[in-house]
């Protein structure tokens, strides 16, 4: 089969980090995809914004800190990171609560971002 054109893939995170393995396995998928030379973006919205918080202490529940893995995104050259501003506000969270460098975007930009993609992989 011929090699198709580079695709725009958005990884969408909508769940809190430790209630299930979904967040962790979603991040694994992002890291795997980074090896395939595609146009990747990552968007956190709804309860997914909780993955980004500073001062997580998952050691207490014998889980790995998801921030350590998210911080590796830049090492994998994954630069297009977005978080939904309204999702933060609805949960009483501020920009200063976020542990990693990320673009904070409003709903209209989220809509644009979603509409530009070839595929959305939702976690």
């Amino acid at each position: 089969m011929n090699k198709p054109k580079t695709k725009k893939l958005l990884f969408l995170f909508r769940h809190a980090p430790y209630g299930s393995a979904l967040a962790k396995e979603g991040i694994d998928a992002v890291l795997a995809a980074s090896a395939y030379d595609q146009d990747l973006s990552v968007l956190f919205m709804d309860d997914g914004v909780f993955q980004l918080l500073k001062h997580q202490k998952p050691d207490d529940i014998e889980e790995k800190n998801i921030i350590n893995i998210l911080s590796a995104f830049t090492l994998y050259d994954i630069q297009s990171l977005f978080v939904c501003q309204e999702s933060l506000a609805e949960r009483g969270l501020r920009n200063t609560d976020i542990a990693i460098g990320i673009n904070i975007v409003a709903h209209n930009t989220v809509s644009q971002l979603l509409s530009q993609q070839d595929h959305i992989l939702s976690f």
């Binding site: 089969m1 198709p4 695709k7 893939l9 299930s20 393995a21 979904l22 396995e25 694994d28 998928a29 795997a32 995809a33 090896a35 395939y36 595609q38 070839d118 595929h119 992989l121 939702s122």
Partner: protein, 129 residues
């Protein structure tokens, strides 16, 4: 149109059933189904030890029959599978386990197969948990 499915749902939940019905609708309408990628709790579909009651649907057998009939690639994510005890004989040997349970027709492979499915498909449809 070329489709792939990503199934995160364990066999006992609604979206697992929806995925199966959607897959049947695709082939009925002459679309191409490039790959079914089982991820997260979806990997439980690949255990040949699933033993539902006789008057209940056997999700593993149902997918096996579907894949055979329509020649569809069914991949179980190896990392998700190992975490949840879905192993083929090779992995059982590697991790010194006394048994293996990957059902025939399913293949253990890496997340690259999900990315490859996205690259080669016009549509990737996710069936969440």
């Amino acid at each position: 149109m070329i489709f792939s499915l990503a199934i995160y749902a364990t066999p006992s939940v609604q979206s697992s059933d929806s995925a199966y019905r959607f897959a049947n609708a695709l082939v009925a309408h002459n679309h191409t189904l490039y790959r079914i990628f089982f991820y997260h709790d979806g990997v439980y579909h690949g255990s040949q030890l699933n033993t539902p009651a006789q008057d209940e649907v056997d999700h593993t057998v149902r997918w096996q029959q579907f894949a055979k009939q329509h020649n569809v690639d069914m991949v179980i994510c190896i990392a998700s599978g190992l975490r949840r005890g879905i192993l083929n004989s090779k992995e059982a040997t590697r991790y010194e386990k006394s048994a293996h349970n990957l059902a025939e027709g399913f293949e253990l492979s890496g997340l690259g197969q999900l990315v490859d499915a996205a690259v080669y498909s016009d549509r990737l449809v996710t069936f969440g948990h």
